[in-house]
Protein backbone atom coordinates (compact mmCIF):
# COMPACT_ATOMS: atom_id res chain seq x y z
CA UNK A 1 0.00 0.00 0.00
CA UNK A 2 1.33 3.43 -0.88
CA UNK A 3 0.73 6.76 0.78
CA UNK A 4 -0.14 10.05 -0.83
CA UNK A 5 1.96 12.80 0.73
CA UNK A 6 2.99 16.40 0.13
CA UNK A 7 6.76 16.63 0.41
CA UNK A 8 9.71 18.56 -0.98
CA UNK A 9 12.24 16.74 -3.16
CA UNK A 10 14.69 16.72 -0.27
CA UNK A 11 12.07 15.31 2.07
CA UNK A 12 10.97 12.55 -0.26
CA UNK A 13 14.59 11.55 -0.95
CA UNK A 14 15.20 11.39 2.80
CA UNK A 15 12.15 9.12 2.98
CA UNK A 16 13.61 6.96 0.20
CA UNK A 17 16.87 6.69 2.15
CA UNK A 18 14.93 5.79 5.32
CA UNK A 19 13.03 3.06 3.48
CA UNK A 20 16.20 1.72 1.82
CA UNK A 21 17.69 1.67 5.34
CA UNK A 22 21.35 1.56 4.27
CA UNK A 23 23.95 0.08 6.62
CA UNK A 24 26.16 3.17 6.39
CA UNK A 25 25.62 6.79 5.34
CA UNK A 26 28.64 9.08 5.39
CA UNK A 27 27.94 12.73 4.64
CA UNK A 28 29.37 16.17 4.99
CA UNK A 29 26.66 17.94 6.97
CA UNK A 30 26.98 21.60 5.94
CA UNK A 31 26.66 23.57 2.72
CA UNK A 32 26.69 22.69 -0.18
CA UNK A 33 24.84 19.79 1.42
CA UNK A 34 21.06 19.80 1.23
CA UNK A 35 18.30 19.20 3.77
CA UNK A 36 18.17 15.60 2.56
CA UNK A 37 20.89 14.25 4.85
CA UNK A 38 19.86 16.59 7.65
CA UNK A 39 16.39 14.99 7.57
CA UNK A 40 17.96 11.57 7.28
CA UNK A 41 20.17 12.22 10.32
CA UNK A 42 16.96 12.90 12.26
CA UNK A 43 15.73 9.43 11.30
CA UNK A 44 19.01 8.04 12.61
CA UNK A 45 18.68 9.98 15.88
CA UNK A 46 15.07 8.82 16.27
CA UNK A 47 16.04 5.18 15.76
CA UNK A 48 13.93 4.89 12.60
CA UNK A 49 16.79 3.26 10.66
CA UNK A 50 19.62 0.86 11.48
CA UNK A 51 22.16 3.04 9.70
CA UNK A 52 25.60 3.89 11.02
CA UNK A 53 25.74 7.62 10.27
CA UNK A 54 29.23 9.06 9.82
CA UNK A 55 29.73 12.80 9.73
CA UNK A 56 32.94 13.76 7.98
CA UNK A 57 34.96 16.90 7.35
CA UNK A 58 34.52 17.19 3.58
CA UNK A 59 32.84 15.58 0.60
CA UNK A 60 36.15 14.00 -0.36
CA UNK A 61 35.99 12.22 2.99
CA UNK A 62 32.26 11.53 2.63
CA UNK A 63 32.85 9.60 -0.58
CA UNK A 64 35.98 7.97 0.84
CA UNK A 65 34.12 6.73 3.92
CA UNK A 66 31.26 5.52 1.71
CA UNK A 67 33.77 3.66 -0.47
CA UNK A 68 35.29 2.07 2.66
CA UNK A 69 31.88 1.08 4.00
CA UNK A 70 30.87 -0.42 0.67
CA UNK A 71 34.15 -2.32 0.34
CA UNK A 72 33.56 -3.64 3.85
CA UNK A 73 30.41 -5.29 2.51
CA UNK A 74 27.71 -2.87 3.61
CA UNK A 75 25.01 -1.10 1.62
CA UNK A 76 26.36 2.44 1.69
CA UNK A 77 24.91 5.78 0.59
CA UNK A 78 25.74 9.45 0.68
CA UNK A 79 24.27 12.59 -0.88
CA UNK A 80 25.68 15.85 -2.12
CA UNK A 81 25.27 18.82 -4.46
CA UNK A 82 27.24 21.21 -6.63
CA UNK A 83 30.80 21.86 -5.43
CA UNK A 84 30.41 19.00 -2.96
CA UNK A 85 30.22 16.61 -5.90
CA UNK A 86 33.18 18.38 -7.49
CA UNK A 87 35.23 17.77 -4.33
CA UNK A 88 34.34 14.05 -4.52
CA UNK A 89 35.68 13.80 -8.06
CA UNK A 90 38.83 11.80 -7.35
CA UNK A 91 36.99 9.28 -5.20
CA UNK A 92 34.09 8.86 -7.66
CA UNK A 93 36.50 6.99 -9.93
CA UNK A 94 37.68 4.81 -7.06
CA UNK A 95 34.06 3.84 -6.29
CA UNK A 96 33.24 2.91 -9.88
CA UNK A 97 36.66 1.38 -10.62
CA UNK A 98 36.42 -0.78 -7.50
CA UNK A 99 32.87 -1.72 -8.61
CA UNK A 100 31.12 -0.58 -5.44
CA UNK A 101 27.33 -0.27 -5.81
CA UNK A 102 26.93 2.99 -3.88
CA UNK A 103 23.76 5.04 -4.48
CA UNK A 104 24.04 8.82 -4.15
CA UNK A 105 21.29 11.40 -4.65
CA UNK A 106 22.73 14.61 -6.14
CA UNK A 107 20.82 17.87 -5.97
CA UNK A 108 21.90 19.54 -9.21
CA UNK A 109 23.29 23.00 -8.71
CA UNK A 110 25.69 25.26 -10.55
CA UNK A 111 29.41 25.03 -9.97
CA UNK A 112 31.01 28.26 -8.79
CA UNK A 113 32.44 30.65 -9.90
CA UNK A 114 31.12 33.15 -9.87
CA UNK A 115 29.46 31.88 -6.73
CA UNK A 116 26.02 30.46 -7.40
CA UNK A 117 23.95 27.86 -5.58
CA UNK A 118 21.00 27.51 -7.97
CA UNK A 119 19.93 24.87 -10.42
CA UNK A 120 21.91 23.72 -13.39
CA UNK A 121 23.55 20.46 -14.39
CA UNK A 122 27.19 21.47 -14.40
CA UNK A 123 27.86 19.39 -11.26
CA UNK A 124 26.46 16.13 -12.67
CA UNK A 125 27.99 16.73 -16.09
CA UNK A 126 31.43 16.99 -14.53
CA UNK A 127 30.94 13.41 -13.34
CA UNK A 128 29.51 12.09 -16.59
CA UNK A 129 32.61 10.09 -17.53
CA UNK A 130 33.38 8.90 -14.01
CA UNK A 131 31.81 5.48 -14.53
CA UNK A 132 28.74 6.21 -12.39
CA UNK A 133 25.27 5.42 -13.66
CA UNK A 134 23.24 8.65 -13.79
CA UNK A 135 19.48 9.09 -13.62
CA UNK A 136 17.60 12.35 -14.13
CA UNK A 137 14.11 13.11 -12.88
CA UNK A 138 11.30 15.42 -13.95
CA UNK A 139 9.94 15.78 -10.42
CA UNK A 140 10.22 14.53 -6.85
CA UNK A 141 8.16 11.43 -7.61
CA UNK A 142 10.59 10.30 -10.27
CA UNK A 143 13.62 11.12 -8.11
CA UNK A 144 12.14 8.97 -5.32
CA UNK A 145 11.34 6.12 -7.71
CA UNK A 146 14.80 6.35 -9.30
CA UNK A 147 16.53 6.19 -5.89
CA UNK A 148 14.80 2.96 -4.94
CA UNK A 149 15.37 1.35 -8.33
CA UNK A 150 19.01 2.53 -8.39
CA UNK A 151 19.80 0.29 -5.40
CA UNK A 152 18.74 -2.80 -7.34
CA UNK A 153 20.39 -1.66 -10.57
CA UNK A 154 23.72 -0.81 -8.95
CA UNK A 155 23.82 -4.03 -6.94
CA UNK A 156 22.83 -6.26 -9.87
CA UNK A 157 25.54 -8.87 -10.47
CA UNK A 158 25.87 -7.87 -14.13
CA UNK A 159 26.39 -4.22 -13.14
CA UNK A 160 28.04 -3.59 -9.73
CA UNK A 161 28.48 0.10 -10.51
CA UNK A 162 27.56 3.12 -8.39
CA UNK A 163 24.59 5.37 -9.23
CA UNK A 164 23.95 9.09 -9.04
CA UNK A 165 20.26 9.92 -8.70
CA UNK A 166 19.91 13.51 -9.91
CA UNK A 167 17.22 15.97 -8.93
CA UNK A 168 17.13 19.63 -9.91
CA UNK A 169 18.24 22.00 -7.17
CA UNK A 170 15.46 24.09 -5.62
CA UNK A 171 13.00 23.44 -8.46
CA UNK A 172 12.61 19.84 -7.26
CA UNK A 173 14.65 19.77 -4.04
CA UNK A 174 12.77 22.60 -2.32
CA UNK A 175 9.36 22.60 -4.00
CA UNK A 176 6.49 20.73 -2.34
CA UNK A 177 4.79 18.16 -4.52
CA UNK A 178 1.87 15.85 -4.16
CA UNK A 179 3.40 12.40 -4.55
CA UNK A 180 3.10 8.77 -3.63
CA UNK A 181 5.56 6.92 -1.47
CA UNK A 182 5.52 3.17 -1.19
CA UNK A 183 4.87 1.27 2.01
CA UNK A 184 8.04 0.69 4.05
CA UNK A 185 7.70 -3.08 3.81
CA UNK A 186 7.30 -2.94 0.01
CA UNK A 187 10.58 -1.01 -0.35
CA UNK A 188 12.28 -3.34 2.14
CA UNK A 189 11.21 -6.34 0.10
CA UNK A 190 12.03 -4.69 -3.22
CA UNK A 191 15.59 -3.69 -2.33
CA UNK A 192 16.18 -6.92 -0.36
CA UNK A 193 19.40 -7.67 1.50
CA UNK A 194 22.68 -6.68 -0.08
CA UNK A 195 25.21 -9.47 -0.26
CA UNK A 196 28.60 -8.52 -1.69
CA UNK A 197 30.47 -11.34 -3.41
CA UNK A 198 33.75 -10.49 -1.71
CA UNK A 199 34.11 -7.99 1.09
CA UNK A 200 36.64 -6.76 3.62
CA UNK A 201 34.79 -7.73 6.79
CA UNK A 202 34.54 -11.36 5.77
CA UNK A 203 37.13 -12.85 8.13
CA UNK A 204 36.48 -16.33 6.71
CA UNK A 205 37.73 -15.28 3.32
CA UNK A 206 40.16 -12.34 3.53
CA UNK A 207 40.76 -10.24 0.40
CA UNK A 208 42.67 -7.13 -0.67
CA UNK A 209 40.69 -4.16 -2.07
CA UNK A 210 42.18 -1.33 -4.10
CA UNK A 211 45.67 -2.70 -4.76
CA UNK A 212 48.25 -1.30 -7.15
CA UNK A 213 47.11 -2.23 -10.65
CA UNK A 214 49.67 -1.28 -13.27
CA UNK A 215 50.24 -1.89 -16.98
CA UNK A 216 49.64 -5.61 -16.62
CA UNK A 217 46.00 -5.58 -15.39
CA UNK A 218 44.51 -2.04 -15.08
CA UNK A 219 43.30 -2.11 -18.68
CA UNK A 220 41.54 -5.44 -18.13
CA UNK A 221 39.73 -4.02 -15.10
CA UNK A 222 38.63 -1.00 -17.14
CA UNK A 223 37.39 -3.39 -19.82
CA UNK A 224 35.29 -5.17 -17.18
CA UNK A 225 33.86 -1.77 -16.25
CA UNK A 226 32.98 -1.04 -19.89
CA UNK A 227 31.21 -4.39 -20.16
CA UNK A 228 29.30 -3.69 -16.93
CA UNK A 229 28.22 -0.30 -18.32
CA UNK A 230 26.94 -1.99 -21.46
CA UNK A 231 24.80 -4.28 -19.26
CA UNK A 232 23.10 -1.37 -17.49
CA UNK A 233 20.33 -0.70 -20.04
CA UNK A 234 18.87 -4.21 -19.82
CA UNK A 235 19.05 -4.21 -16.03
CA UNK A 236 17.34 -0.77 -15.85
CA UNK A 237 14.44 -2.10 -17.93
CA UNK A 238 14.23 -5.34 -15.94
CA UNK A 239 14.17 -3.50 -12.59
CA UNK A 240 11.64 -0.96 -13.96
CA UNK A 241 9.26 -3.78 -14.84
CA UNK A 242 9.45 -5.17 -11.31
CA UNK A 243 9.07 -1.70 -9.84
CA UNK A 244 5.95 -1.10 -11.90
CA UNK A 245 4.37 -4.13 -10.26
CA UNK A 246 4.67 -2.60 -6.79
CA UNK A 247 4.19 1.08 -7.72
CA UNK A 248 1.98 1.14 -10.80
CA UNK A 249 4.43 3.62 -12.33
CA UNK A 250 6.12 2.83 -15.61
CA UNK A 251 9.76 3.63 -16.36
CA UNK A 252 12.07 3.16 -19.30
CA UNK A 253 15.43 4.48 -20.47
CA UNK A 254 13.66 7.67 -21.51
CA UNK A 255 10.10 8.93 -21.93
CA UNK A 256 8.65 9.76 -25.33
CA UNK A 257 6.03 12.48 -24.96
CA UNK A 258 3.85 12.91 -28.06
CA UNK A 259 6.87 11.87 -30.08
CA UNK A 260 5.21 9.18 -32.21
CA UNK A 261 3.97 11.42 -35.02
CA UNK A 262 6.08 14.48 -34.12
CA UNK A 263 7.91 16.47 -36.79
CA UNK A 264 9.82 18.69 -34.39
CA UNK A 265 10.94 17.85 -30.84
CA UNK A 266 13.16 18.80 -27.95
CA UNK A 267 15.39 16.52 -25.88
CA UNK A 268 15.90 17.51 -22.25
CA UNK A 269 16.77 16.33 -18.74
CA UNK A 270 15.32 17.14 -15.35
CA UNK A 271 12.53 19.47 -14.31
CA UNK A 272 12.60 21.39 -17.60
CA UNK A 273 10.91 18.40 -19.21
CA UNK A 274 7.75 19.35 -17.27
CA UNK A 275 7.92 22.84 -18.73
CA UNK A 276 8.57 21.33 -22.17
CA UNK A 277 5.46 19.16 -21.87
CA UNK A 278 3.38 22.31 -21.34
CA UNK A 279 4.98 23.85 -24.45
CA UNK A 280 4.31 20.68 -26.46
CA UNK A 281 0.67 20.66 -25.33
CA UNK A 282 0.21 24.33 -26.35
CA UNK A 283 1.74 23.71 -29.75
CA UNK A 284 -0.30 20.56 -30.31
CA UNK A 285 -3.43 22.68 -29.73
CA UNK A 286 -2.21 24.96 -32.50
CA UNK A 287 -1.77 21.96 -34.77
CA UNK A 288 2.02 21.80 -34.56
CA UNK A 289 3.34 18.25 -34.42
CA UNK A 290 5.62 18.85 -31.46
CA UNK A 291 7.13 16.25 -29.13
CA UNK A 292 9.59 15.69 -26.30
CA UNK A 293 12.18 13.07 -25.46
CA UNK A 294 12.91 13.09 -21.76
CA UNK A 295 16.12 11.28 -20.88
CA UNK A 296 15.94 9.26 -17.66
CA UNK A 297 19.11 7.17 -17.97
CA UNK A 298 21.84 9.58 -19.00
CA UNK A 299 24.87 7.40 -18.15
CA UNK A 300 25.44 5.02 -19.74
CA UNK A 301 23.88 6.84 -22.68
CA UNK A 302 21.19 4.80 -24.49
CA UNK A 303 22.46 6.04 -27.85
CA UNK A 304 20.89 3.51 -30.19
CA UNK A 305 17.45 3.76 -28.63
CA UNK A 306 17.52 7.57 -28.58
CA UNK A 307 18.66 7.76 -32.21
CA UNK A 308 15.88 5.39 -33.13
CA UNK A 309 13.26 7.47 -31.32
CA UNK A 310 14.42 10.68 -33.03
CA UNK A 311 15.11 9.43 -36.54
CA UNK A 312 11.77 10.33 -38.13
CA UNK A 313 11.80 13.96 -36.98
CA UNK A 314 12.55 16.87 -39.31
CA UNK A 315 14.42 18.82 -36.66
CA UNK A 316 15.30 18.37 -33.01
CA UNK A 317 16.64 20.76 -30.39
CA UNK A 318 18.77 19.48 -27.52
CA UNK A 319 18.34 21.51 -24.34
CA UNK A 320 21.43 21.58 -22.14
CA UNK A 321 21.49 22.99 -18.63
CA UNK A 322 25.30 22.98 -18.70
CA UNK A 323 27.95 24.09 -21.14
CA UNK A 324 31.13 22.23 -21.97
CA UNK A 325 33.02 25.36 -23.14
CA UNK A 326 34.40 23.16 -25.88
CA UNK A 327 32.62 25.39 -28.47
CA UNK A 328 30.97 22.20 -29.72
CA UNK A 329 27.84 22.55 -27.56
CA UNK A 330 26.41 21.19 -24.34
CA UNK A 331 27.01 17.60 -23.18
CA UNK A 332 23.60 16.17 -24.11
CA UNK A 333 23.90 17.74 -27.56
CA UNK A 334 27.31 16.18 -28.11
CA UNK A 335 26.03 12.76 -26.99
CA UNK A 336 22.87 12.95 -29.07
CA UNK A 337 24.60 14.16 -32.24
CA UNK A 338 27.12 11.33 -31.89
CA UNK A 339 24.25 8.86 -31.46
CA UNK A 340 22.54 10.11 -34.62
CA UNK A 341 25.69 9.89 -36.73
CA UNK A 342 25.38 6.11 -36.97
CA UNK A 343 21.66 6.05 -37.67
CA UNK A 344 20.02 6.51 -41.05
CA UNK A 345 18.26 9.62 -39.70
CA UNK A 346 18.14 12.71 -41.86
CA UNK A 347 17.33 15.56 -39.52
CA UNK A 348 18.77 18.82 -38.29
CA UNK A 349 20.06 18.81 -34.69
CA UNK A 350 20.53 22.08 -32.86
CA UNK A 351 21.54 22.97 -29.35
CA UNK A 352 20.15 25.39 -26.77
CA UNK A 353 22.16 25.97 -23.62
CA UNK A 354 19.76 27.43 -21.05
CA UNK A 355 19.04 27.98 -17.39
CA UNK A 356 22.62 28.30 -16.11
CA UNK A 357 22.91 29.26 -12.47
CA UNK A 358 19.17 28.81 -11.93
CA UNK A 359 18.01 31.18 -14.68
CA UNK A 360 14.32 30.41 -15.07
CA UNK A 361 13.17 28.66 -18.22
CA UNK A 362 9.65 29.57 -19.33
CA UNK A 363 7.08 27.75 -21.45
CA UNK A 364 7.24 30.61 -24.00
CA UNK A 365 11.00 30.17 -24.34
CA UNK A 366 10.61 26.50 -25.18
CA UNK A 367 7.82 27.48 -27.60
CA UNK A 368 10.28 29.85 -29.27
CA UNK A 369 12.68 26.90 -29.69
CA UNK A 370 9.88 25.01 -31.43
CA UNK A 371 9.32 28.04 -33.71
CA UNK A 372 12.99 27.92 -34.66
CA UNK A 373 12.67 24.18 -35.30
CA UNK A 374 9.64 24.65 -37.55
CA UNK A 375 11.55 27.21 -39.55
CA UNK A 376 14.54 24.87 -39.85
CA UNK A 377 12.20 22.05 -40.91
CA UNK A 378 10.60 24.27 -43.58
CA UNK A 379 13.74 25.84 -45.02
CA UNK A 380 16.35 23.22 -44.23
CA UNK A 381 18.56 26.12 -43.14
CA UNK A 382 20.28 26.19 -39.77
CA UNK A 383 21.51 29.68 -38.96
CA UNK A 384 23.18 28.74 -35.72
CA UNK A 385 23.75 25.26 -34.37
CA UNK A 386 24.65 26.22 -30.81
CA UNK A 387 22.35 28.77 -29.17
CA UNK A 388 22.12 30.31 -25.73
CA UNK A 389 18.52 30.61 -24.61
CA UNK A 390 17.44 33.31 -22.17
CA UNK A 391 20.76 35.13 -21.86
CA UNK A 392 20.98 38.94 -22.22
CA UNK A 393 23.26 40.50 -24.81
Amino acid sequence: MSNQVALTGNEVMAQAMRQINPDVVAAYPITPQTAMVQLFSQFVADGKVDTEYVTVESEHSAMSATVGASAAGSRAMTATAANGLALMWEVLYIASGTRLPIVMPVVNRALSGPINIHCDHSDAMGARDSGWIQFFAENGQEAYDNAIQAVRISEHEDVRLPSIVNLDGFIISHAVENLEILADEDVEEFVGDYQADNYLLNSEDPIAVGPLDLQDFYFEHKMQQAVAASNVKDVVLEVAKEYEEISGREYGLFEEYKLDDAEVAVVALGSTTGTAKAAVDNLREQGVKAGLLKIRLYRPFPAEEIANALKDLDAVAILDRADTFSTTGGPVYIDTRAALYDSDADLEVVNYVYGLGGRDIKVEEIESVFEDLQQIAETGNVEQKINYLGVRE
Binding site: L100, N198, A208, D216, F217, E220, Q224
Partner: protein, 94 residues
Protein backbone atom coordinates in the same frame (compact mmCIF):
# COMPACT_ATOMS: atom_id res chain seq x y z
CA UNK B 1 44.84 -17.16 -8.48
CA UNK B 2 45.38 -14.59 -11.22
CA UNK B 3 48.26 -15.36 -13.56
CA UNK B 4 50.20 -12.95 -15.77
CA UNK B 5 48.47 -12.68 -19.13
CA UNK B 6 44.96 -13.55 -17.83
CA UNK B 7 42.13 -11.80 -19.71
CA UNK B 8 39.40 -9.54 -18.33
CA UNK B 9 36.85 -12.34 -18.26
CA UNK B 10 38.97 -14.47 -15.93
CA UNK B 11 40.07 -12.01 -13.24
CA UNK B 12 38.14 -10.75 -10.18
CA UNK B 13 36.15 -7.52 -10.67
CA UNK B 14 37.50 -4.14 -9.67
CA UNK B 15 41.07 -5.24 -8.99
CA UNK B 16 40.19 -7.31 -5.92
CA UNK B 17 42.80 -9.83 -4.83
CA UNK B 18 41.00 -12.82 -3.44
CA UNK B 19 43.97 -14.53 -1.77
CA UNK B 20 45.27 -13.17 1.52
CA UNK B 21 48.99 -12.71 2.16
CA UNK B 22 49.63 -12.20 -1.51
CA UNK B 23 52.33 -9.49 -1.43
CA UNK B 24 55.10 -12.06 -1.82
CA UNK B 25 53.63 -13.07 -5.18
CA UNK B 26 54.34 -9.63 -6.54
CA UNK B 27 57.96 -9.66 -7.58
CA UNK B 28 59.28 -6.15 -7.16
CA UNK B 29 62.89 -7.09 -7.91
CA UNK B 30 62.44 -5.84 -11.45
CA UNK B 31 62.27 -2.25 -10.19
CA UNK B 32 65.95 -2.43 -9.15
CA UNK B 33 68.68 -0.50 -10.91
CA UNK B 34 71.39 -1.33 -8.38
CA UNK B 35 71.88 -4.65 -6.68
CA UNK B 36 73.30 -5.13 -3.14
CA UNK B 37 76.24 -7.55 -3.04
CA UNK B 38 77.13 -8.88 0.40
CA UNK B 39 80.78 -9.61 1.07
CA UNK B 40 80.49 -12.53 3.42
CA UNK B 41 84.16 -12.26 4.50
CA UNK B 42 83.76 -8.68 5.79
CA UNK B 43 80.25 -9.14 7.28
CA UNK B 44 80.20 -9.26 11.11
CA UNK B 45 76.66 -10.66 11.25
CA UNK B 46 75.31 -7.66 13.22
CA UNK B 47 71.88 -7.87 11.48
CA UNK B 48 71.63 -4.11 10.91
CA UNK B 49 70.85 -4.62 7.20
CA UNK B 50 68.27 -7.24 8.12
CA UNK B 51 66.59 -4.85 10.58
CA UNK B 52 66.61 -1.84 8.26
CA UNK B 53 65.55 -3.49 5.01
CA UNK B 54 62.06 -2.08 4.24
CA UNK B 55 61.17 -5.08 2.11
CA UNK B 56 62.37 -7.88 4.43
CA UNK B 57 64.67 -8.90 1.61
CA UNK B 58 67.78 -9.62 3.71
CA UNK B 59 67.28 -13.19 4.74
CA UNK B 60 68.51 -14.52 8.05
CA UNK B 61 68.66 -18.20 8.75
CA UNK B 62 69.40 -19.71 12.15
CA UNK B 63 70.68 -16.36 13.39
CA UNK B 64 73.01 -16.04 10.46
CA UNK B 65 72.53 -13.12 8.08
CA UNK B 66 75.14 -14.59 5.81
CA UNK B 67 72.35 -16.42 4.10
CA UNK B 68 71.15 -14.61 1.03
CA UNK B 69 69.40 -11.54 -0.32
CA UNK B 70 65.95 -12.09 -1.77
CA UNK B 71 66.49 -10.57 -5.21
CA UNK B 72 62.88 -11.31 -6.23
CA UNK B 73 61.72 -8.57 -3.85
CA UNK B 74 64.77 -6.34 -3.17
CA UNK B 75 64.09 -3.00 -4.91
CA UNK B 76 67.71 -1.91 -4.65
CA UNK B 77 67.09 1.06 -2.34
CA UNK B 78 70.59 0.77 -0.84
CA UNK B 79 69.55 1.27 2.80
CA UNK B 80 71.40 -1.96 3.75
CA UNK B 81 74.64 -0.68 2.20
CA UNK B 82 74.20 2.68 3.91
CA UNK B 83 73.61 1.15 7.35
CA UNK B 84 76.34 -1.50 7.22
CA UNK B 85 78.96 -0.49 9.84
CA UNK B 86 81.78 -2.41 8.10
CA UNK B 87 80.95 -1.59 4.44
CA UNK B 88 80.31 -5.22 3.65
CA UNK B 89 77.54 -4.40 1.15
CA UNK B 90 78.22 -2.82 -2.17
CA UNK B 91 75.63 -1.58 -4.65
CA UNK B 92 76.44 -2.88 -8.07
CA UNK B 93 74.80 -1.66 -11.26
CA UNK B 94 72.33 -4.20 -12.69
Amino acid sequence: MVKPGDGYKDIPKGGLILEAGNAKNYKTGGWRTKKPILDKETCINCHRCWAFCPDSSVLSEDGDVKAEIDYDHCKGCGICAHECPVNAIEMEKE
